[in-house]
């Protein structure tokens, strides 16, 4: 492996940047505001937040605007930005059981306590282009919203089995409760209870942090889940799909999938009145949580139990959360399939790493290629044949090895990060 930097090209790079701006704007019919992206491309914003590892809808929308809609570039911008901010707090445990549910379904239980709620979904709609959207105006939007609000504010008979609000409770606790299906299965003895049991919060070991600690395989389970939570949706879906198709051993049913707003709190940092450490609400974040149920196993004592899988990610990103649950379970099984190989899965699902590494091929590789040319010439000479390109002008392969330059383009930055990360993980093949 050998790297060299190139120099020069500053003017061309500056012009290329201006040309990019030109292409971003030249056919614009109106300026796309960050607010429009945040509110009307919400699933893309959610995806970028998840892959960027930063819950900040406004910044994700800004990154998408800057990246002209490229989710990988936007996630990279977001991750780069987060590295400039201090991290002054770690939340108390965020519990999706406290979720204000927008959607909650199960493919395992038709009649689940609290009921199945489709919420905002396209799962059961025809995939037909809505040509009317081409002509959509604000008047159309307001007209729909007005009618919908009026329609949904009318009293409606409450189905008998609808989750009832708890009348003796106050605040958030007064909202309808949706018990976790996996918890019910655990209580009834059908599913494995948490392996280590729960230690009291504040006394338990802090999780592994992939943003602060060097990744060495095998990664602790907490680090594995963190990597999956900020994995790239497409890559995770592909690997989870491979496991379900037979390149692996995991094909679950969904015990429960829920999407909704979950409260976040941090320990109160002041000493006033002995309050230090008391949880302090700071807002709600939208999460998707999936608990999968896998074919049961029998332990040594002959006890038969379903095995759970777990997925949790920022925003509404259901295919990612399901894929996370499949992959985390798959990584707990042994076998030779790619989805069972921890290093293979975790290092290939990271958007910044994979995009950066593939993208770096676009940057000058003159020395690498020059050495390939030298080798092919030697091979041809050794074979006694005529060298290809004999008499042709020598290709200009650029800079001597080891010259440091300042071509600090975004792509170069991406390469540097990818290289650094790849080297850290010891996976360079170049």
């Amino acid at each position: 492996m050998a790297y060299t930097a190139v120099t020069g090209g500053k003017e061309a790079i500056a012009e290329a940047e201006k040309l990019t701006e030109f292409f971003r704007l030249k056919d614009a019919q109106a300026i796309l505001t960050v607010g429009m992206i945040e509110t009307q491309l919400r699933l893309l914003v959610d995806r970028v937040m998840g892959e960027g590892g930063l819950y900040a809808p406004g910044y994700a929308a800004l990154a998408l605007k800057q990246a002209e809609g490229d989710p990988a570039e936007a996630a990279f911008l977001l991750r780069a930005y987060r590295s400039t901010l201090p991290r002054n707090h770690v939340s108390t445990v965020i519990d999706p059981a406290d979720m204000r549910v927008l959607r909650r379904i199960s493919s395992s239980f038709r009649d689940m306590p609290g009921g199945q709620v489709l919420g905002p979904t396209r799962d059961y709609t025809h995939r037909l282009l809505k040509f009317a959207l081409r002509e959509e105006t604000m008047d159309d939007a307001e007209s729909f919203l007005g009618k919908y609000r009026e329609e949904t504010s009318l009293p409606r008979e409450r189905p008998a089995d609808l989750a009832e609000p708890a009348t003796d409770r106050e605040g958030r606790a007064a909202l309808p409760a949706f018990p976790k299906i996996a918890d019910l299965l655990r209580k009834q003895g059908f599913m494995k209870a948490a392996e280590g049991g729960r230690a009291e919060e504040g006394r338990e070991e802090e999780p592994f942090d992939i943003t602060r600690q060097k990744l060495i395989f095998p990664v602790p389970r907490s680090g594995r889940l963190q990597m999956l939570a900020r994995g790239e949706t497409g890559a995770m879906t592909a690997l989870a799909y491979s496991s379900m198709r037979g390149y692996g051993a995991v094909h679950p049913t969904i015990g429960e999938l829920r999407v909704g707003y979950v409260p976040v709190a941090v320990p109160y940092p002041l000493d006033e009145g002995g309050a230090r450490g008391e949880p302090l609400y700071i807002g709600e974040i939208l999460l998707t949580e999936v608990e999968t149920i896998h074919p049961f196993t029998q332990n040594a004592s002959g006890e038969a139990l379903f095995v759970p899988g777990y997925g949790l990610c920022f925003g509404q990103n259901e295919v990612k959360a399901i894929s996370m649950a499949i992959l985390e379970r798959s990584l707990e099984t042994s076998g030779t399939a790619p989805a069972q190989d921890e290093e293979f899965v975790l290092l290939h699902i990271d958007s910044v790493e994979s995009n950066g590494f593939v993208s770096h091929l676009k940057l000058p590789h003159y020395i690498t290629f020059q050495s390939s040319l030298d080798r092919i010439r030697r091979a041809q000479r050794a074979a006694g044949g005529k060298e290809a390109g004999e008499g042709a002008p020598e290709p200009q392969t650029g800079t001597p090895v080891g010259v440091k330059t300042e071509t600090a383009t975004a792509a170069a930055g991406k390469t540097a990060e990818a290289d650094k990360e790849a080297l850290t993980h010891g996976s360079r093949a170049d």
Partner: protein, 149 residues
């Protein structure tokens, strides 16, 4: 009525009527000298979740927040909320400092917090009712044909 914890108060102030927080902060600001200890600034909050399989926590990802610390006399106050909102973080800190200092203006605030919380919960219930209109009852084909016979 259970005690209004600091967290429940923060929930009301953050999610409730914007004018309510402004008004409480204004009541204090016009009568007391509020010293900025740490002006509003952006911070990351690492979100911690619990893995139900192992029972142990893991880090889900970071969350953008704005925080602020102020002092009213010897009492400090801390404000923090998700997102980027310097003004609101400051107002939360002022209200927190006023409560910590047990200023006389805060005497009637508990009743106001409770009233605002009821409004907030009503709003959430309405949102929930909208969502519950999508509650579904799937029948198996067997059930469905059985019902027709």
């Amino acid at each position: 009525m259970a005690e209004m914890t600091r967290s429940r108060i923060a929930q009301v102030l953050i999610e409730g009527d914007r004018e309510f927080l402004k008004r409480l902060c204004g009541q204090i600001g016009e009568r007391y000298r509020v010293e900025p200890v740490r002006p509003p600034s952006r911070t990351l909050v690492m979100g911690k979740a619990r893995d139900p399989v192992s029972g142990k926590p893991f880090y889900l990802g970071e969350i953008l927040a704005t925080e602020c610390t102020v002092a009213i006399g010897p009492a400090h106050g801390f404000g923090i909320l998700l997102g980027e909102d310097a003004e609101k973080a400051y107002e939360l800190a002022v209200v927190d400092a006023a409560l910590n200092a047990r200023l006389p203006e805060t005497a009637g605030w508990t009743a106001e917090f409770e009233r605002e919380e009821r409004k907030l919960v009503e709003r959430w219930k309405k949102d929930q009712e909208r969502v519950m209109r999508t509650k579904v009852q799937f029948d198996t084909m067997e059930d469905s044909y059985g019902n027709r016979l």
